[in-house]
Amino acid sequence: MNTSTTRNQTSIELGDTVPTVTITREFDAPVAHLFRAWTEGDLVARWLGPRSQTMHIERYDCETGGAWRWWSSGEDGVEHHFYGSFHDVRPNDRLVQTFTYEGFPDSVSLETATFEDLGDGRSRVVTVSLVDSFEDRDAFVASGMEHGVVEGYEKLDELLATL
């Protein structure tokens, strides 16, 4: 858990017994603002997408039973499409949604975000992503490193080749 008061650090935890990724972060903003920035499509578009990519929102009906769909594009012209459903939306409290990357259409993760009012205009969000298998979870974590860390894989290949 982050105990720093000077800086809001992101912490990541990988589940041991179930294939989860838990991300925790605090914000210098009231929980109502955090929830809006998380659930209103035009605000989401400004921060969620990958860096160096433009995020295009096709649909963002953030209500229980609603659905979302967006895609990102970069200078290389490659597009990545994502979609899912909003399963449970409780303002300033909890958001449960599904998440699928069309590149891996058989995989779906269940994302639960819990919002917490910390007082003094501060708030915390804890997101738990539950995927189908440890293999999927690991690919999911690794996919965050695709940009510019191909050499990381290559280094590992080289290293493993020597063992």
């Binding site: 914000f27 109502a32 605000l43 007082g119 440890f134 979870r137 974590v141 493993l160």
Partner: protein, 128 residues
């Protein structure tokens, strides 16, 4: 190939006993017997865990001596840690952008209606 390997490293470390074995091997090489001593499990069970770590490239066994001590491949372990750190940084970058969005929302709120001292802002009226 790399993705398979990555998956093996990740799943090898997803088990608490194997993580414990890795932590102990980080201190120094040890034989299977030495590694098994603190656990209330069979030698075979520990050997099985070590086999998973070996298959993932995290642990090697030296062939020279009778003892065949297990050795932690620290470089593989470090790479693993770097991958997770990289993932954390990607999340951090996202949240830094979110910080900027939130700061702007606060400013706009300030223009619309000055916030009362000590009151938490809740325009939606849907707070807990």
């Amino acid at each position: 190939m790399a993705a398979d390997q990555l998956s093996r490293v990740f799943s090898a470390l997803s088990d608490p006993t194997r993580r414990d074995l890795v932590a102990r091997l980080a201190v120094g090489d040890a034989t299977v017997n030495e590694l098994a001593a603190p656990y209330d499990v069979t030698l075979q069970a520990v050997s099985k865990h070590l086999k998973v770590l070996e298959d993932a490239g995290l642990v090697t066994r030296t062939r020279d001596a009778q003892r065949r001590p297990c050795h932690l491949e620290a470089e593989v372990f470090d790479l693993m840690t770097k991958w997770i750190e990289r993932y954390r940084r990607e999340a951090e970058e996202r949240f830094t952008r979110l910080d900027a969005v939130l700061a702007e929302m606060r400013e706009q709120d300030g223009d619309d209606q000055p916030r009362k001292q000590g009151s938490s802002d809740d325009r939606t009226g849907a707070g807990r």
